[in-house]
């Protein structure tokens, strides 16, 4: 059990983070909190990818004659590249989201979903 916990701890954290993020995206009424939830969700996924690319007893994926040519000595580069992309995409989405929050505040004077909906009525 303990073994299982250790070997899978970060996957569980991933799931927790994603649950948290998703919950915030759906249930939170404050738009900024929704954005935070979105980012938490995204970092959860990034953590997931990075975790699957980690190797025991390995170093960073920069080929160094000191460690030799064997692939087993280096962490997985592919997942890292994918996640670099995901981070940049995430921050771009966040920027657009926050900009929308600001404009919504400007037009409706609130960043609370319920209150904005009330103003429509």
């Amino acid at each position: 059990m303990f073994e299982y916990l250790i070997t899978n701890y970060n996957y569980m954290v991933v799931v927790f983070l994603m649950m948290m993020g998703l919950w915030a995206m759906i249930a939170k009424k404050n738009l900024v909190k929704k954005c935070i939830g979105l980012v938490i969700f995204q970092t959860g996924i990034i953590l997931f990818y990075i975790s699957m690319g980690a190797k025991n007893n390995s170093t960073i994926p920069i080929i160094d004659p000191k460690y030799g040519e064997a692939a087993i000595n280096y962490a997985n580069p592919l997942t890292q590249i994918l996640m670099l992309t995901a981070i940049v995409v995430g921050v771009a989405t966040l920027g657009v989201g926050l900009m929308l929050v600001q404009r919504i505040y400007k037009e409706y004077g609130s960043i609370n979903e319920d209150r904005i909906l009330e103003k429509f009525k």
């Binding site: 994603m18 995206m25 738009l31 969700f41 996924i45 699957m52 771009a92 989405t93 929308l100 404009r103």
Partner: protein
């Protein structure tokens, strides 16, 4: 040069999309012709690819290795008979919309027009890329390009568009995240992102739970993106409040491309064996889509606003396609695939016509359509052709997709799906004939016919570059319908493996 057409499809709109913000500082008037030129270039590339492809064996595909790195290591572009059809639909829709949109964009957006065109072209780039790519992660990046541009395009709309966009952003990001998560679950078991390689590796892993979760999340992500009921809540507001040009482009394409991705994953990444035999969730999903169809139709019936009504029709149409694919019978899948193209043009036709009406009348409330038949006969006739196609009246293409969908449902015993389809057709008939009635009869509750007021309505059609694309689309609807058999035998027949 000859073998570069695959990448040129994407490059034309990409480059012009990037150049437009720079060019607009010098000369704004060249932006529109430039955008059209780039799309014509892209169309030319698609056309050439298609001619190359049609010379080959029906089940073969053309691959293109970006950066000349072989498939699993680099990113691969693949064109086969499935996505060439979707590519055609995308490029035709975007070309026609761009021609159509000139006045509308100038009227609605003013100073922002140049940036709008840039986003517009990048959105098209994203969709073309999604369709053509053979790499699961590349698809995610392009999906995000398409999504971000669509947030921008929608937020430029009127009224509550901002709030609608924010909702769309949250839901859309959620969908993209689900997709990425699903790809991650596949990736952890297979170590590859290339769709062809996934197809080869996955059969060994069919009993893996991780693969199941991966599959479910990819499908779920696409459901969010395509607004499958009950995940549709973002769509109606977003599309009805968006600027006309953006709605004309997005409503036909975004959801259809998501459906395409779903079908692609079901058929070409997971196999039909996995989807229909290993998993036994067909019936549940067909029931869900039946509910989606009926719910979408009923919502559409309760709308008083033309654009909003159309958006709910889209929700119902999504149910058609999802249900059709999941019936698990060859006919249903074929119908769904055919319906991707058909529905893209149907939706385009309707949205364009509404765009014309809004351009002339000023709003899109149902009661402002009084006597519109006399005022804008060309627009209304095209609108009706689109409407007939949605209802499913031959020889428009909507009839033939319905034919295949019902056949598929019948053969797989999904009678509830047949009933849902029929009910939705009937409701659509009511919807469109309500509009015919309003447009034909003028006054709403006048006891005596007021012929004078009818005669005083003047012919007031939109400019030619608006109605001509509309006429072309409505012709396409009929032509597609008439040539159903050709499309089926040349394209769709070979995509769907016999089961």
């Amino acid at each position: 040069m000859a073998d570069q057409f695959l990448v040129l499809i994407v490059l034309f709109p990409l480059f012009v999309g990037l150049l437009i913000p720079i060019i607009a500082y010098f000369n704004k008037s060249v932006v529109w012709p430039l955008a059209i030129l780039s799309l014509i270039g892209s169309f030319w590339a698609v056309f050439n690819t298609a001619t190359q492809l049609l010379k080959l064996d029906p089940s073969s595909s053309i691959s293109y290795y970006l950066g000349n790195w072989m498939a699993p290591f680099g990113i691969e572009y693949v064109v086969d008979r499935f996505n060439i059809m979707v590519l055609f639909a995308i490029i035709c829709v975007s070309l026609l919309t761009t021609i159509f949109a000139k006045q509308v964009i100038e009227k609605e957006l003013g100073d922002n027009a140049a940036n709008f065109y840039s986003l517009f072209l990048l959105f098209i780039t994203g969709l073309l890329g999604i369709t053509i790519t053979g790499d699961a992660f590349n698809l995610y990046v392009l999906l995000e390009i398409a999504s971000l541009t669509s947030y921008g395009l929608i937020a430029l709309g009127r009224g509550r568009a901002l709030v609608a966009t924010f909702n769309y952003l949250i839901m859309g990001s959620m969908g993209a995240c689900f997709y990425l998560l699903g790809v991650g679950y596949l990736f952890i078991k297979t170590g590859t992102l290339n769709m062809d390689q996934l197809y080869d590796v996955l059969p060994l892993l069919f009993d893996s739970k991780a693969v199941l979760v991966g599959f479910v999340f990819i499908i779920l992500g696409m459901w969010v993106k395509m607004a499958f009921f009950p995940l549709h809540s973002w769509l109606p507001n977003a599309y009805s409040l968006a600027p006309t040009a953006a709605a004309c482009l997005m409503a036909p394409l975004m959801t259809k491309v998501s459906v395409y991705v779903m079908i692609r994953f079901m058929l070409n990444v997971f196999s039909t064996e996995y989807v229909y035999s290993v998993l036994t969730i067909n019936n549940i999903i067909v029931i869900m889509s039946s509910i989606a169809i009926i719910a979408g139709s009923i919502y559409a019936l309760s709308q008083k606003n033309l654009k909003k009504m159309l958006t709910f029709i889209i929700v119902a149409e999504i149910g058609y396609m999802v249900g059709g694919v999941w019936t698990g019978h060859v006919d249903g899948i074929r119908g769904a695939i055919y319906h991707i193209t058909a529905d893209a043009f149907m939706t385009l036709c309707l949205f364009m016509a509404v765009g014309c009406i809004v351009y002339r009348v000023g709003n899109d409330k149902l009661e402002s359509l009084k006597g519109i038949f006399k005022k804008m006969p060309i627009t209304m006739i095209c609108f009706l052709v689109g409407g007939f196609s949605v209802i499913g009246i031959p020889p428009t293409c909507g009839f033939f997709s319905k034919w295949y969908l019902i056949s598929g449902a019948f053969n797989s015993g999904a009678w509830y799906f047949i009933i849902a389809l029929i009910i939705s057709s009937l409701i659509n008939a009511v919807l469109f004939f309500r509009i015919i009635e309003i447009g034909f009869f003028g006054a709403m509750s006048n006891e005596k016919p007021d012929y004078k007021s009818l005669q005083s309505i003047k012919f007031n059609e939109v400019p030619i570059n608006m109605w001509l694309p509309l006429v072309i689309v409505s012709m396409i609807l009929i032509i597609l319908g008439i040539y159903t058999n050709e499309i089926m035998t040349n394209f769709i027949l070979n995509i769907v493996p016999m089961m």
